[in-house]
């Protein structure tokens, strides 16, 4: 059945009944806790990505690798990051694969790609989480493309923590561009610090945003943050 499903994958495209791939679906779920079976299945999926299967079929494979992929799948997925057709679901898989290989693949893409594909890689770094992305995202805050700078800010806000907060504060001081995404991300960092019981650091951020130079909305957010800090102190 599984062999038949992989054979069907070669001709799979929009409009093909999904039942033809059901055996792959079942095998992915059944591979739970069986490392050998899982590794074999992953290898077959990776091999399929290297063939000339349809866009839809590659997307399907990426969806399955999102669930069972490992570092072994990263090179094949990274190769799709520059593809207008398949980058999205390749990122969907990379966001979920643990380990430094996926971090590096997304960081490389975020720095080398252009346009929407670059924005996607930046967004995936934020969604992936972890401190590894801070250094790679920091320079992008100063990108001439405002969409890139905004995406980098939002991703840093997702990562949270003191390192991300520091680069955001620096960018707020120096930028001539839009500050709203930077401030939104900085507020996200303050919330992450508060959750981590780093109340003093969070308080300092909120105090920096509570002044009259800020909009009413930001002052409200800063005041709410300060109250939350006081409640936790």
């Amino acid at each position: 059945m599984l062999n038949q499903a992989f054979e069907a994958l070669k001709k799979f495209d929009f409009g093909t009944p999904l039942s033809e791939l059901q055996a792959i679906e079942d095998a992915v779920v059944a591979a739970h806790k069986d490392t050998a079976v899982r590794g074999d299945l992953e290898a077959r999926l990776i091999a399929a990505l290297a063939t000339d299967i349809s866009r839809d079929a590659k997307d399907y494979v990426c969806r399955k690798l999102a669930l069972i992929g490992s570092g072994a799948a990263v090179p094949s997925l990274a190769a799709l990051l520059s593809s207008e057709s398949n980058a999205h679901l390749a990122r969907h898989a990379l966001e979920r694969i643990p380990g430094p290989e996926a971090d590096a693949a997304l960081a490389t893409a975020a720095n080398s790609l252009r346009g929407k594909l670059k924005l996607g890689a930046i967004a995936s770094m934020g969604a992936r989480g972890g401190v590894a992305g801070v250094a790679a995202l920091a320079p992008l805050l100063h990108d001439a493309d405002v969409a890139v700078a905004r995406a980098a800010a939002l991703s840093l806000g997702m990562l949270g923590g003191s390192d991300a907060a520091a680069v955001l504060q620096s960018a707020i001081r120096s930028t001539n561009g839009a500050k709203a995404p930077l401030i939104d991300a900085l507020l996200g960092c303050a919330e992450s610090l508060l959750r981590a019981n780093q109340t003093d650091a969070a308080t300092a951020i909120y105090q920096s945003l509570a002044g009259d130079q800020q909009s009413r909305l930001i002052r409200l957010a800063a005041t709410r943050g300060l109250l939350a800090c006081a409640a936790k102190a």
């Binding site: 929009f14 779920v29 839809d56 999102a66 679901l89 996607g120 934020g126 969604a127 991703s155 709410r224």
Partner: protein
């Protein structure tokens, strides 16, 4: 850019009274500010001053809507029918929805002033808007709600409010960060299940041990083939953060089908019947049992001859069953012979059902009946269930970290990648 029934003075006062809780009315401020600011005679129209059945412009909520299909139209008409709403902007990626929506609004006010948008970001960027309602397909909800909060808008969002487990905490965080009123959109939670709620909250059934929810089906991946586009629609914006796919009328149909004939059936855009009706039924169950502020910590998966079903285990000892064989929807097991002290049943504030509740809370900054946190907790049940059924196993859910315990694969299903350029 000027918009009807709006203005920076009134808007400014709204933010002050809303956020600080100070007592002066928006109308009083308008009068004061008019004199103080201009220092010259100023003609205020009768419309601005209001009448018996229509509050002064300064006391109206300036509102817009995004996603004006089947559900959005109903929401819009509810808000449009209120005298304390000034509806000024509408947005839809379908040309027909957009044009009909604008016509409906203009007809209501006998003007041609409503602005119609195809890109929600332009609508949300308007500084004169106080609030928006959102009734797009579910895959757009989180992005739009969060962006609305970033722009200082209060939000009424149709159910199911989330598409993934990860989205919920981020939507709550955005609402709390900016002090926004964000209400979910299931009117059934309070209005359909009252006959269950009242005896339980009166203590007549004693401590509730379990309740059963029958709802489904599960969402399915959509692989429909390409169709000629028989309507004017911005297809790329309809797909938004979801995976690219060719146009197909069933893929984007806004009908209420959950069996393959509308977007509600498909996992890229919806949690299927589990979320679509689950938002109501799970919402009702959690309200009946007074666990709206909680999430379950374990989902026990059963697969036996009589079918597949789930037990959601709560930290307070409650069990919510899903599709338990031979059980009716909202079948409650209490403690026979036990009478608990009665508690007051929460209700909508203001007048006009769930819409009136939202509008009242926009004015007073109170917490709406279906606050986004309650809505998220309801959706969590549906998402946890979908994942347990997909993986065919029991799961332990850590409510603090919003992660599954000892199941790395399940954690890969907490969220999904969003198509570029979209980002939470």
């Amino acid at each position: 850019m000027a918009f009807p029934g709006s203005g920076s003075i009134r808007k400014s006062q709204h933010a002050t009274s809303a956020n600080s809780g100070q007592g002066s009315s928006r109308r009083q401020f308008l009068k004061t500010a008019t004199v103080a600011t201009f220092g010259v005679p100023y003609v205020i129209s009768s419309s601005a001053l209001g009448s018996i059945d229509r509050p002064a412009a300064s006391d109206r909520i300036v509102m817009g809507g995004i996603g004006i299909g089947n559900m959005g139209r109903g929401d819009q008409e509810a808000f449009l029918g209120r005298g304390d709403i000034q509806y000024v902007a509408t947005c839809d990626v379908r040309v027909s929805n957009r044009e009909q929506s604008k016509a409906r609004i203009d007809d209501r006010y006998k003007t041609k002033d409503c602005r119609a948008y195809s890109d929600f970001r332009e609508l949300l960027a308007r500084p004169d808007l106080d609030a928006v309602h959102i009734a797009t397909p579910d895959h757009w909800h989180a992005i739009m709600v969060i962006e609305a909060c970033r722009n200082g808008k209060d939000v009424y969002c149709q159910k199911p409010e989330t598409l993934t487990l990860r989205e919920g905490p981020l939507m709550i965080a955005a609402a709390r960060r900016y002090g926004r009123v964000v209400s979910g959109g299931s009117q059934r939670v309070l209005e359909d299940y009252r006959r269950f709620v009242e005896p339980v909250w009166a203590g007549e059934l004693g401590a509730i041990k379990s309740i059963n929810v029958n709802v489904g089906p599960l969402p399915q991946l959509c692989n429909l083939g390409r169709e000629e586009m028989g309507e004017k629609i911005d297809w790329d914006m309809w797909l938004g953060p979801a995976a690219w796919a060719p146009y197909n009328s069933k893929r984007c149909s806004g009908s209420f089908s959950i069996n393959g004939d509308s977007w509600r059936s498909f996992s890229d855009y919806s949690g299927g019947g589990m979320t679509d009706w689950g938002a109501h039924h799970f919402g009702g169950a959690t309200f009946i049992c007074d666990v709206r502020s909680l999430q379950p910590t374990e989902v026990v998966y059963h697969d036996q001859a009589e079918g597949r079903w789930l037990d959601y285990l709560y930290p307070n000892g409650l069990t919510i069953h899903h599709n338990k064989p031979q059980s009716e929807n909202l079948q409650i097991v209490g403690t026979p012979g036990e009478q608990l002290p009665a508690r007051p049943v929460p209700a909508y504030r203001g007048a006009g059902g769930i819409y009136g509740d939202f509008v009242h809370c926009v004015k007073t900054r109170e917490t709406p009946f279906r606050d986004i946190e309650y809505a998220v907790n309801t959706c969590v049940l549906a998402h946890l269930g979908n994942i347990a059924y997909q993986l065919k196993r029991s799961l332990k859910w850590d409510t603090a970290s919003q992660q599954f315990l000892d199941d790395a694969e399940a954690n890969r299903l907490v969220d999904r990648g969003r198509r570029e350029p979209w980002q939470l």
